[in-house]
Structures are given as C-alpha cells and as structure tokens.
Symmetry: C2
Subunit: 464 residues, 2 copies
C-alpha cells in the first residue's frame, strides 16, 4: 500500500460495487484468507488482498477493470484457482477477479464440430456435453474434473491425449477477451481454417491472465473415434528402454491416444498407497491406449513392444479393465503426495531426449538426496517430477530448490522448455531470460505494455 493513500479501502469498495453490480464481492477477512492462495501452488498469496470478486458478466469485468484503473490496483484473473505455479494467488492490495460463475455452455454443435463456452465451464463438463452429441473435447489435463476452460486456455493446458489430439492451443479457434482498458475484442472464428488477421487468439492462449480477461471461448470438438478402444500396460527394465519403445510405437503410425510413463519410485509409492505390487516388475511402467483399435493395429503395436523390450504386456478392450489401468495414472498423484510436502514440476524436451531427462532427474535425486517421483507423458516428451520433503518442514528445502534449478537447466540444455503444460505463474517467471533470451523477453514486455499499459493484469506473473 502506498504510504499516504488517496482513498480509503471503503471508498474503493463502494466504487467497485457500483461498477460491478452483478458481481459477488467479498471483502471480509475470512473469505479473503480462503482465496489468498490456490491449493496446488506454493501458498504464495499476498495477505494484503483487497477483494475477492466473482463476476456474473462482461459488464462486471469491465467494472472491476475500471476500478483497477481508477485506483491503480492489481487484478488477478482466476477461474478455479488450481494453478500449480501459483499463477492466480493474491497479489498486493489487489482484486481477485474470478470468472468461475460465468460457466454457461453456450453452444455445442455436432454439425460445426465446435463448442462455445464461458470461461468458468469445468473441462469435464464441456467434455460430457460434447459426448452427448458423439463428440469429445480433447485436452485432458490432470485437473480435468476441477479446472475450467478459462484457466486451461490461460495456461495452454495439455494432458494425456495431447500425444494424439494436441494441447489447448490446438483446440482453441476463437476467444472473446476484455482488455485492461475495458474493450471487449472478438478474436478468431468458428471456422476450422483461418488465414485473415494476425493470430491474436493464440497470443492470449497461454498468456496467464496478463494480457486480458477471457470471456468466451470457441473450441474444436473431435468426433469420438469409430472402433474399439484398448488400453494396456507394459514394463521395461529402465526408462531408456521404455523411451526407445515409445519412439518406435509413435513412428509406427498407430497413433496412440496415450503413452504414459511411471518410474520405479512412483510405482513404489503406488504400492505403498494401494497395497499393490507393481514395483516388483521393476524398472518403468508404460500405460498406453489406442482409441481406434482394430486387430491389425493391435498386433502391430504388440510386435513393436515385444521387440523393444516390453515385459508383462497386458492389453484389454474390456471397459472395466481399461478404467482400472487408467486409474493407475490418476492414483499416482495422491500416492506420491502422501509422502510429504511437495512440488510437482513440468518440463518438456524433444521426444528423443526424454529418457535422458528422466535419467538426469534420478541422478540428481541421488546426488542431492531429494525424494523425486517422476511420471511423464512419454508420447510428447513431457516430464513431471514431483519433489517431496517431510511434512514438518514448511519452507521448500534448499536442496529441493537446487535440484529444481539443475533440472530446469538440463531441460533447456536438451532443447526443451521448463514449462510443458503448467505455464509459468509466479514460480518460474525468473527464468524468462534463461529460456527465451533477452530479445524475446523484451518483446514480451513490449506486448504486455501495449495491451496493459498500466500493468494491472496479473503483474509479477508470467513475464515479470
């Protein structure tokens, strides 16, 4: 807060309420404390938060932004607050602007193969609505059951099916956004091909609320593939062997819809948590899925896996058994998280470098004596190491920070990125220069200043 503020908080709140008449505006300490930090980040929210606002419509958003401009307040856009990088935690004497109540599915069109939604629609709800007309919404982040499309777009969320269907950026055809100055722009189209304007739609995808407030999203839907899906699991002596098998599976043209790798530490955690004995298979587990399985493709897949070192391969087309295998990947997180406080990381490297990246992570774990459990979207080189430390210790231990730093550097050295699908938020924004170089970093700041000259929108995140 400024030393000698021109306005009292009460004056600001009165102004805000008049400007955003349909919004639910909370300013009491209990509610503010509840919303100060998201549950999945590092609890970095600022206790100076002024208001938590759930807007009902575009006019409310424009009112919040007018208030922010009037009183020079940071605005923190948010949908379901499930950021893993503290991307929507409270910041300064600011306003959290949540669009979670704007959760209408405006249109689901089988004919156009698109859906139009408000930002607060939960990913799973959109997918369910699409499935009612024989379509599905492809991007499937781990947070699918709780995170909203607005946040998915803001972070360019990926998921398990990215290997076949792409991440959020591949699904978004158009957006409506409210700029910091209050104007609402319509970007992109409801068409599958577009070659008219600059691609401003994608400038906002992954921009983490720093360039504007997303108010409406037009996405591609995919037809549910014809045929019998199959899901399987296989074990490999080590991650390197698994990596080679994944390369061969991908190159074979069978277009798997999922290729997930779990390392042996993760298998042990799973066994401990669930009373299973996956770790006795040793090495690394691959969970795979074909969503268009015919017999010829399945035979081809089995032959490749056998040739490249897969052990104990099980494949099933029985829905219940498939669900059980898929659940393994979901259960992994609570199993790992049960071991203590944790940070789940997210790096992506070129496909051929995934095994090397995973080997490096294991090496760092031993060298620095840090507990690390690594799972990966093996089909797209996206690695998620979870670093765990004792529950008693609130602060992130130095050796964990050291381990993170070394991993990030290795990912960049291998031609990768330190964020594959979780974005940057508060936790990685000091790495801009490292990952992008000073010229691109500067250009990002120029674009930010162009769209948000007062730097009101999620300042200190993504690029600062």
């Amino acid at each position: 807060m400024a030393y000698f503020p021109a306005y009292t908080d009460e004056e600001i709140i009165t102004f805000l309420k008049a400007q955003a008449p349909h919004a639910a505006i909370a300013t009491d300490k209990t509610t503010l404390a509840q919303h100060q930090s998201g549950q999945y980040g590092l609890g970095a929210g600022d206790s100076a938060l002024l208001a938590y606002v759930e807007v009902a419509d575009v006019a409310d958003i424009q009112g919040v932004l007018k208030t922010a401009r009037q009183f020079h307040l940071p605005v923190i856009p948010q949908t379901t607050a499930t950021s893993t990088v503290s991307g929507s935690d409270a910041l300064g004497h600011g306003i959290i602007l949540s669009t979670r109540r704007m959760n209408k599915i405006i249109d689901v069109s089988r004919e156009d193969q698109v859906a139009v939604v408000q930002p607060g629609v939960v990913n799973q709800d959109l997918d369910a609505a699409a499935r009612k007309v024989g379509m599905f919404y492809a991007p499937d982040p781990g947070s699918k059951a709780m995170s909203a499309i607005g946040g998915n777009v803001a972070t360019n969320a990926g998921g398990m099916s990215t290997v076949k269907y792409g991440a959020t950026w591949d699904a978004v055809l158009g957006l409506k956004v409210v700029l910091a100055d209050g104007r609402e722009l319509t970007l992109g189209h409801r068409t599958l091909k577009q070659a008219f304007g600059y691609n401003l739609t994608q400038l906002f995808v992954g921009s983490e609320g720093t360039l504007g407030i997303i108010t409406e999203i037009t996405v591609k839907l995919m037809p549910i593939p014809f045929g019998q899906p199959i899901t399987g699991v296989a074990y490999f002596p080590d991650m390197k062997t698994l990596g080679t098998a994944v390369t061969e599976v991908r190159a074979a043209g069978v277009y798997p819809a999922m290729l997930e790798a779990l390392d042996s530490a993760t298998l042990q955690a799973l066994d401990q948590y669930e009373g299973t004995n996956y770790a006795q298979n040793n090495g690394a587990m691959l969970i795979l899925r074909l969503d268009t399985g015919d017999q010829a493709i399945l035979q081809k897949l089995k032959a490749i896996l056998a040739q490249f070192g897969a052990q104990n391969l099980q494949v099933t087309s029985v829905p219940d058994e498939q669900a059980k295998l898929l659940k393994l990947r979901q259960d992994m997180l609570p199993a790992v998280f049960a071991n203590g406080n944790h940070v789940m990381e997210d790096m992506a490297v070129p496909l051929s470098k995934m095994a090397q990246m995973m080997a490096y992570i294991s090496e760092i774990a031993k060298k620095l004596d840090v507990q690390i459990y690594t799972a990966g979207h093996a089909g797209d080189g996206n690695v998620h190491p979870t670093l765990v430390w004792p529950k008693a210790q609130k602060e992130v231990p130095d050796k964990v920070v050291r381990a993170l730093r070394l991993m990030f550097r290795e990912a960049l050295r291998l031609g990768g990125t330190i964020s594959g699908e979780h974005a940057v938020g508060l936790l990685k924004n000091q790495w801009n220069n490292e990952e992008l170089g000073p010229d691109v970093d500067q250009l990002q700041h120029q674009i930010k200043s162009l769209l948000d000259p007062m730097h009101l929108l999620n300042p200190g995140r993504k690029i600062d």
Copy 2:
C-alpha cells in the same frame, strides 16, 4: 519516389551490395520486370521496383534490412512468389527480398518427429525427406509442388489434409525470424508441448511478411499411418445433400484425410478439358480418402454415404486408381482456368454453413451473369469459387468485383472468414474492418508498429 531524393539509385545499390555480400542482387530492367508480379495473383506489382535480391543467409537479410532502414525503402519478403492474393508483388521503390535460395533441410528427425528447414524449402521436398524416414509433412496446399515452407508459414497455408491433420499453424513448433531492426529472434521450441512464453511463434505464422523475415522453421512431422489407404468418389444430387453427408462422415469418427467437393460447373469444365463425362452424373462430386482404412471403417463410411444420398460410389485401395481419383482434384484448376482470365477465391465458413455458402455462390453467378466454378475442402468448410471472364478483357469486370463483394459479405454473415488458407495480401486488406472490427484492426496496427516501427516490411499488405 520522393520528389527530390537524397540519394541516387546507384548509391543505394552500392550500399546494398556492401551490406548483403552473399546475395544475388538484380537491378536490370528485364529481371525486375520478371519479378514485378507473381504468376498467381492479379499482376498488381509496381514497376518502380529497385532491386530483386535472393539472399544466401541471415547476414544478407540483415544487410537488406539495414539498407531499407537507411533509405526508407519497402521490403517485400518472398519465397516462390506463388501468392494468390498478390502478397509478394513489387511495391514502390522497394526491394524484393527472396529467401528461395535458403532451401536447406537442416534436420529431419524420426525420433523427435520434427523437421527443421530454411524458408526456401519447397513443401513437396520437405514431405519427401520426411517420407524417407516413415513420416510425412501434413499441410498440403494446392501449390505443394512449387510453394516453399517460408511462404506456407507466412500465409498459414492449408490444403486437402487439413480436415484431419490441420493447417500450417498446427504444424509449426518454432521459428527464427529477423525483425525489421535486424535482430534475429528464436521463437518456440522443438518440443510438442510448450507453455512458457507468449505464443509469438503463431503471431508470425500467417503474418505475411509484415512483422519479420522468417529464416528457420521447426515443424511437426506425422508418422505415416499404419494400414491401407483408400480413395473414393461419390455423386450427390446437389451440394446441400453432399454437405449433409459430409457432416455425417465427419461425425462418425472415421477421420477422413480428405473430403473434397466439386460443383457441377467444375465437372463440366473438367469434361470439356479432359474429354470425360463426369457431369452426366449431375449435381456435385465428393472425393474422399481414408489414410488408415480398415474394413470396418470402410463399411461404416459406405453405409453413411449410401444413407445420405451418395450415388455411383466407387472406392478403391489400388494405388494407381487412387492416384487417378486424386488427380481429378488437381486437374480441376487448369480445366477451369482454360475458360478465361480468372480469380480464385478462398472463404471458410462454419462446417454446417458450407452448402448454404455454395448455394449462394451459384445464385450470385446466375444473378450477375458471372461464370463461377466452385470447389471446396468440404471437410473444413473452405470454399474456393473461381470467377472467370473472357481472355480478351484484361481488367477485372465490374460484375466480377460485385460478385466477390457479395460473396465476402455472405461468408462473414455466416460466421466465416474471407480467407481460409490464402491469406490477405494486397487483394483483401481493405476488408480488415469488415471482418475483424475496428478494435482488432487497431490492435493489429499497434503490433505492426511495435515490431516494424518504420513500416518497411510488406507495407500495404495484410493490414493496411
């Protein structure tokens, strides 16, 4: 040219030659006249062209831009000059900067499923290099055999396989670009997932040389699908029936790799040109392709087509017969072009609106007495009417201009875009306000001014 120029052309050329020492620099009238206008636009190139420069490397590009800054000269980026919208014709007392000699395929990686190329690599050559390692490069514009990846990226080129694999924007993972100020930026990554910086890569995809010069492109490769491809042809009483069948085929989850529609006027032109008798089947022709055909999928496809009004369906898995059917689509253009001077247009509408758009085009043809032949990438709502007028008449007839204007308005009214895959160039840049609205139009200009403050790069194209 300015009334009293500060420098003679000779002085400028001497400076240019010193700055771009590896470039082939032509300033003679014959060569300049040759490069004044591309072959596929409306011959709108400016005869005041100062130099035609084929650069050899990034240093040459930087030298050309330094010269342009020094003498305030327009720079027209170009690869193979096959723009259909006069996007790279000569402009003012400017320099055409061609990167066609920068045509190295730097890397084709089966393991990473990416390729890295220079901008001058012809689309077909990249695809051929990828096929050598069991991959392919998906975007397949009609100009595939002659257009280069640099231009494909600059225009966000689509093609027939977009219906399954997406357009150029879906393939591009990273770019190197030289800005107007001479700095080379590296954007994006060699990774399939990316969620770190703002998506500046896609800001340059489709920017038509107005924001920077593309010097290197990293693209996704797709594995050649396992299985037996099949190609087929079917006839429908009219475009509306065809459109409904296409909707059903798409929604069935069989993922066709091509769904091309030809109208009856086009079939008549084909018959005249090739001595065939396609038009006797009346109505509209659909050419379709599955590149992962198994028998179950094929049966499903046949059942849908029969149910929704297809007549005389022929499907083949014999390679020669497939090639023959595919050639139909290619032969369509010379058959249509043989009828006179022409302009081939490009609009995309929501899938469900394609039949309506095509019906509107036929109606306009009758009403204004304009010869129009319409083909469409029916699977993605992308319509290409070709408007033809007598060879003797050099100027575009008024009624053709009126017809174009009406079509564009109808495409926009239907929620579409007036450019699906051919970009904007010189021929559509007066439609920015109409298609995008004044706020987005203004933002485009702000971004242009940010990246190219002297407006040297392809001025008057895309957004001006």
